[in-house]
Symmetry: none
Subunit: 538 residues, 2 copies
């Protein structure tokens, strides 16, 4: 039996742009369109040409290679001919392969928002679709508020869909614009639409996450017969977001209930790039990827529980709903005070450290980790500090240098012009190869000053640290009030693209930050040697 | 027709504890149990007594008033009698109302993970439930991997459920432990379980979010007949998280498809507290609430200025799937001006500050707040700083004292005995009534030192500040890397029982902390005068 083809339609650049706090530049749009195109999405909706200068510029040429490039806009206004509607003209003029018209399909909104008759609205749909087709473009119609409209007046909602198809539209997309429709309602209504004679091959679904069910609504519509699914990267979008394509695509491809009946344009090789796609998009938005995101989050295949960890090491398949590598992700058994010995061995192994189960150093390491976690360290979030601690206890980290002392001063006062000025200065004294060196630096804040001073003169290690950068800095106060313990997590990166987290804990925030900084520097030096195969030779 | 009662079971403190990066202290657990209990949850699962010292301490007394307090643990081991199993004994001994046993219901796992026979596993379920019931506790059984187990061997999965009920369990909970089951599968399997003779009144659902459908899976199970739903606050949990009760509860209460058939223990008054509950929990975790969270996120009812905004102002009901106030949230149309001004007037009024709409000072205040929020201030979480700013701009705060300068030094070195020692010292110069005073203090960390030095000598204000205490201190880095901006929130309290939050923002953490400290001290002095009715007389 041949499988039904499901078409993937991405609206990150159009509906995703409605996300509070997100505004794409033309360059952002170009980069995102390329990501989507390379990944294998069928339709990339780029925006609303004619509505703003960014989208005008973005649509001045075709921005995709394989994907169909879609312009979004309103149907022509009632009482104006298609050839005289400036909005429609801008859509036709744009360098798009397809036009997605948004049309009212709830009679109440036709009256209140458009202020025209139901028949005039149908006529606008018809004329707009015909104009697009005549211009050689693929036409589709987003039926806004379709499900609410169907509940109020099913005949009119269906008439909108039918008018669009009769005028030559390739697709009619059923939109749950307010996002409040439930999966069982979606399934029933899609079934009724198809039963009314509209073919599922021409239907799409556009869902929003206002009840936390946009993914389920989209999949329910596919089960009921629609063949196009709209959504966004990582589920961005207005209010609670759009359906998350990053969650929908793996389910379509990997779950027998879907994979046995349907196919998409995404190959298994492309699917293995979906974790990278999701993270690349977050990078572009300059935000931290969501660790708990389905399929692609760094925690999606992570286990903390001691009771499960040893079983997972033995039989991963029965504990994982899909193999992590199919979506380009990986298994992670976390170190924490809940984990057992098997966790530790597995984690050390993943880092290339082989320790026999009966080695007493392993027991010492476990008890040190537990002791430190009891005082506030969190090694599960600080991979590099954990690896460093393990290697130190197993005697495979050289003493690169010693910090003899540091001092750091923050001073606020009025400058000569009467303006308030805050200056941070740090002095660090280190010993490298028996040689004492003192460095001083000013920074934005005491931690930045300490970082600069620490790395200012480390003798023969100096040049290795040039590409080390702080990428993120997190502070958590573990117990409020005056006896507060501060936990600092620092993320570092270097020019190889590697990123690592280190941790420091103290009742003094500067001290905690310094510990995390030191771990990061030492880890970087150790990593360099490991790459060069020099650990043993030091 | 009477409605079917659905019972809400929260496992934030047990399964939620499996979230990477989350570790609750006993104090955290006490605070969260109180939030859940006050909100009206039926069952609060507190943890795993016998497994770790935190849970032992937490279960040394009952921690809920109305909710049933549930201990989680394994069924007794095969080959050991119930009375000789130390794990079971710890559960029975705990101060819980109910025990939730986890039991294998997938024959494959019985063999591989437990290493016992199918019959021995059933016997462990039976004996454990009987022991709990005999001890006067409500018993329930979490059937681990139920759906995967059912697909592999439906008879055995059902036998586990039946054994538990026959032994006296109140509930059998069907767990989608790996999180990969789809809503349509859940619906079919729950239907088959009920058709086999297990009453829906005794069934619960426990779903995970590995395909982004934990909420849909839970609701599908309820539609199919289960009467208990398990989940966590804000959907925390292992891997991709558990079913999010914060999303499920409003759908059950507000959507006719559910509300017409089912009822929960949550009144409409309690439901209006759900946004507050969700945010209070994030506060406790010291993380930013998710703006796009269904129902409760600050963006859940927000519309970006555009085609919808003016229509929403006219006809909110047809653009919102539920009224925001039913879940204690509010509409947000981001076109500012009119709506913005009314908000400000209301916010000021709530603090006893009356400003006429046409007062130009009000416009200045609005623009200063917007400007500051754009640079990172968050007045929503810092009531006292907002009130202070408003009163300052409306000229009703006296100049109590001026800070001329401060200096703060953190030094780490080896002491005479060769131990590392970190000392923090702060010097503050203030002017009170034209009189300059300098104070110096040592503290645990630079912020503590600054706080002590600032309050050491403030002349005639000195005695008023004796009962001022710092209760909490939170730090958030607003944009990672080297241009990081630090936001510090400080919670203060005094002997009247009042608590207030102040905020400071700077690229320098010490500077940001000092701003928040200063606001706290000034707010306290202002509050004292207000209580004494002396503001005008200063």
């Amino acid at each position: 039996m041949s499988k039904q083809r499901i078409y993937l339609f991405d609206t990150t650049l159009r509906d995703g742009q409605q996300t509070p706090g997100i505004d794409f530049s033309v360059e952002d749009k170009i980069a995102i369109a390329r990501l989507l195109d390379d990944f294998g999405i069928d339709y990339v909706e780029g925006g609303y040409p004619g509505a703003n200068p960014t989208d005008d510029a973005f649509f001045d040429r075709k921005r995709t290679k394989d994907a169909r490039f879609v312009a979004f806009g309103m149907t022509k206004r009632a009482g104006v001919s298609a050839s005289n509607d400036p909005g429609l003209a801008a859509l036709i003029r744009s360098s798009s392969d397809a036009i997605c018209f948004v049309a009212k399909s709830w009679d109440y909104h036709v009256k209140v928002a458009l202020g025209c008759t139901n028949e005039e609205n149908l006529e606008s749909v018809r004329a707009s679709v015909e104009a697009a087709v005549k211009a050689g473009k693929e036409a589709m119609v987003d039926c806004e508020h379709f499900f609410d409209g169907f509940k109020a007046n099913p005949e009119y909602a269906i008439a909108c869909a039918r008018t669009a198809l009769e005028a030559g539209a390739r697709w009619v997309v059923l939109c749950d614009t307010n996002g409040g429709t439930l999966p069982s309602e979606i399934k029933t209504i899609v079934g009724q639409v198809i039963a009314s004679g509209i073919p599922g091959e021409n239907l799409g679904i556009h869902a929003h996450d206002d009840t936390g069910q946009a993914v389920a609504n989209s999949l329910a519509a596919i089960e009921a017969g629609v063949c196009q699914v709209q959504g966004t990267l990582n589920g961005i979008g207005e209010r609670c977001g759009n359906a998350n394509l990053i969650s929908i695509i793996p389910t379509l491809a990997l779950k027998p209930a879907f994979a046995d009946r349907f196919e998409t344009g995404i190959s298994s090789g492309q699917l293995a790039g979906i974790s990278r796609l999701s993270r690349a998009f977050d990078e572009l938005l300059n935000r931290a990827p969501e660790a708990q995101a389905p399929y692609v989050g760094t925690s999606a295949f992570a286990t903390k529980a001691g009771i499960h960890a040893s079983a997972i090491a033995k039989e991963p398949k029965t504990y994982e709903h899909v193999p992590p590598e199919t979506v380009g992700n990986r298994r992670k058994v976390m170190v924490s005070d809940q984990g057992g010995k098997a966790n530790f061995i597995a984690e050390l192994k993943r880092r290339g450290i082989d320790v026999p189960r009966e080695d007493t150093l392993l027991d010492s390491l476990i008890s040190v980790v537990k002791e430190r976690e009891a005082t506030g360290y969190a090694y599960e979030g600080a991979d590099a500090s954990f690896e460093l601690l393990a290697r130190r206890m197993l005697h495979t980290v050289p003493d690169f240098f010693d910090v003899i002392s540091f001092r750091c001063i923050v001073e606020r006062r009025f400058d000569a012009n009467g303006n308030i000025k805050t200056v941070s200065e740090a002095i660090v004294k280190v010993s490298v190869d028996g040689d004492e060196r003192m460095s001083v630096a000013e920074g934005h804040g005491p931690v930045n000053a300490l970082d600069l001073a620490l790395r200012k003169d480390l003798g023969r290690y100096q040049n290795e640290l040039n590409d080390l950068e702080l990428a993120d800095y997190k502070v958590r106060i573990l117990n409020g009030g005056t006896e507060a313990i501060t936990r600092v997590l620092i993320e570092s990166r270097d020019s190889t693209g590697a990123r690592w987290w280190t941790v420091g804990v103290s009742d003094n925030i500067i001290d905690a930050s310094f510990q995390a900084l030191m771990d990061s520097v030492i880890y970087k030096l150790m990593k360099n040697r490991e790459l060069a195969g020099l650990v043993a030779a030091e």
